[in-house]
Amino acid sequence: MSNQVCIEAKNLDLTFETNDGPVHALKGVDLTIKKGEFVSFIGPSGCGKTTFLRVMAALEKPTGGTITVNGMTPEEARQKRAYGYVFQAAGLYPWRTIRGNIKLPLEIMGYSKPDQEAAVERVLELVDLKGFGKKFPWQLSGGMQQRASIARALAFDADILLMDEPFGALDEIVRDHLNEQLLELWKNTNKTIGFVTHSIPEAVYLSTKIVVMSPRPGRISDVIESPLPRERPLDIRDTPEFLEVAHRVREGLRAGHAYD
C-alpha cells in the first residue's frame, strides 16, 4: 500500500430535486482513499453509499464540494478508463457469451483482437471461470455470473474497482467463497477497491478501511482503519480483533441513528 492519494472528496454535497422536495443524498462528505486500499461503505438504505460510489464513477454529478480521482475529475478519470464498475445485479448482456461480455469494454476501448483474447483468458482465470467463456449468462449460477461481471470490470486493467453490493443477492455460502476470492484478487492485482455493502461481517472481513454512513442527510459517521492483517483466512472472523472492529462498526451505525 502506498501513500499516494487515489480518491479524495472534500465537503461533497449531492442533492436530488424530487417532487417531494430536495433529498440530501450526500452532505459534507470528506474522505481520502489511498492507492491500494480496500474501502467498504456500510450503512442502511438511503445513506448515500451507492450515490457516493456513483459520484466517484461520474455516474452522478455532485451539487457541491470537490472530488478527485487519481488527481482528476471523475469525468476525466472515466475518459482515462480509471475504474471498473461492478453492479449489484451482474448485468451481463444476455445475448453475449461470457467471453463476449468480458470483451465488451475491450471492443469499446479499441483493443486489438489478439489483445482482447489475451485479456479475456487472463481475467477468466483470475475469477476462476476458465472453460466457461462460451456459455451464455443464463447457463451460469448467480455466483458465477457475478464473477463474470467482476472479470468484465477487470478486463481493461483499470486500477480502481468500484463494487456496488456485488454479492448482495447471493446466499451466504457463495458469498463467503467470493469474499475469499475477492481478497485473493485484490492482493494479486494491487487495485484500489471501493465496496458498498449491507453486511457488517463482509465489510470487516474485506476492508482495510470501513466507512460507516448514516442517512437523512447521507453523511459519514465514522471511518475505521482496520487493524486486521492483509492476510485473512475465513476464520479470522472468530478472532477478538475482528469482533472488536465489527462492534465498532455497529456502534457507528447506531450513533448515526441508522437503526431509526
Binding site: 456513483r54 464513477a57 455516474l59 472515466r78 475518459q79 478508463r81 475504474y83 471498473g84 464498475y85 453492479f87 449489484q88 445485479a89 448485468g91 448482456y93 444476455p94 445475448w95 453475449r96 457469451t97 465488451l104 469494454p105 471492443e107 469499446i108 476501448m109 451464455f136 449468462p137 443464463w138
Partner: protein
C-alpha cells in the same frame, strides 16, 4: 407432438360444423330447385345437393379444396402456373405488394422508433400521429392513396405496397420503441462507465436488446401487410391479386372462388408468419436466448 391431437380435434370439429352449416344454408336453393322440377328430395339427396352446388351460399370444405387445387397444383401440372385463372399468379401479385409494403413499413417503423427513442421532440410528436393513423379505417384511406399517387404518375405495385406499409409500420414502431427502451438502468450505466459514444449505446446495447420485441412486431406487421395488400386491391378495381379475386367472386356470386381466395390468403399469411418465426428462432438462439 402432444399438440397434434388437440389441433386435429379442433379442425375436425370445424369441418363437421362447416358441413352442417353448408346443408343448412344451401338447402333453400336445393328445395326451390326441386319444387320447380316437381320432385321430392330425400334427405340423402338433399344433403348431396347442398354439398355440390355451383354457387352455394356456403360452399362445402371439399369444394373449396378442389377449387384450391384446380387453381394451384393442377395449373402447375398443366404448366399454366402464371395464367390469370391461377391462384398462384394472383397470390404472387398480392405477395409482391405485401413484401414490398412490409419492407417499407418495417424500415419506416424502425427508423421512427430510433428517432422516438433518441429525440425527445419526436417522442412527443410522432407517437400520437402514429396512433391516430391507425384509427382511420384503411378502406377509407386506401382509394385516396391510390388516387393521389396516380395523379403523381405512380401506379401499379407501389401504391398497394404503401397501403400495406401503412398498416405494418405501426406494430414495428410500438415494438421497437419498447425494445430499444428495454435495457435496464444498470446496463446503460455500465456502458457509461466505459466512456462510450452514443453509437455503441445503440449498436451494442439498445439494438440487440430490442431483437425479441422486433420479431414479435414483425409477425404482427407481416400479417397486417397482407391484409393491407388485399384491402388495397378491393376499392381500386384491381383485376389481379387475391383481393381482386375475392371481389370478382362476389360480383358473380362465385362463393367457391371467394372462399378459395380467402384460404389462399390465410395459407400465405401463415407461411409468411411461420418463416419469420423460424428466422426468429435461429436469430435468438444464436443470441443465446432461451426461446
Amino acid at each position: 407432438m402432444k399438440s397434434v391431437f388437440p389441433v386435429l380435434t379442433v379442425i375436425a370439429a370445424i369441418i363437421v360444423i362447416w358441413y352442417g352449416a353448408a346443408v343448412n344454408m344451401n338447402q333453400q336453393w336445393a328445395k326451390d330447385q326441386a319444387a320447380r322440377a316437381d320432385i321430392e328430395l330425400s334427405f340423402k339427396e338433399l344433403v348431396a345437393d347442398t354439398w355440390s352446388q355451383t354457387r352455394p351460399v356456403l360452399p362445402a370444405p371439399h369444394q373449396v379444396m378442389v377449387e384450391l387445387w384446380n387453381t394451384t397444383g393442377a395449373k402447375v401440372l398443366q404448366g399454366k402456373a402464371m395464367s390469370k385463372r391461377s391462384l398462384i399468379f394472383h397470390g404472387w401479385i398480392t405477395l409482391s405488394a405485401t413484401l414490398l409494403g412490409f419492407a417499407i413499413g418495417t424500415g419506416a417503423g424502425i427508423l421512427l422508433a430510433v428517432g422516438i427513442v433518441h429525440n425527445k421532440a419526436m417522442d412527443m410528436s410522432v407517437m400520437p400521429w402514429a396512433i391516430a393513423s391507425q384509427t382511420i379505417p384503411i378502406l377509407a384511406i386506401a382509394p385516396m392513396i391510390i388516387v393521389v399517387l396516380n395523379s403523381l404518375g405512380i401506379q401499379g405495385l407501389l401504391p398497394k405496397a404503401i397501403i400495406s406499409a401503412y398498416l405494418s409500420f405501426f406494430p414495428v414502431v410500438v415494438g421497437m420503441v419498447k425494445g430499444l427502451r428495454s435495457p435496464s438502468a444498470d446496463q446503460i450505466d455500465l456502458l457509461r462507465t466505459y466512456f462510450t459514444s452514443g453509437n455503441n449505446m445503440f449498436w451494442k446495447l439498445r439494438l440487440p436488446a430490442s431483437m425479441p420485441y422486433l420479431f414479435t412486431s414483425l409477425k404482427v406487421g407481416m400479417a397486417a401487410s397482407l391484409v393491407g395488400a388485399i384491402v388495397a386491391e378491393l376499392p381500386t378495381g384491381a383485376i389481379r391479386g387475391l383481393g381482386a379475386r375475392m371481389l370478382t367472386g362476389s360480383y358473380y356470386g362465385q362463393t367457391i372462388q371467394i372462399w378459395s381466395a380467402l384460404f389462399a390468403a390465410a395459407i400465405l399469411a401463415a407461411t409468411l408468419v411461420g418463416i419469420i418465426g423460424i428466422i426468429q428462432r435461429i436469430m435468438l438462439k444464436r443470441m443465446g436466448m432461451q426461446s
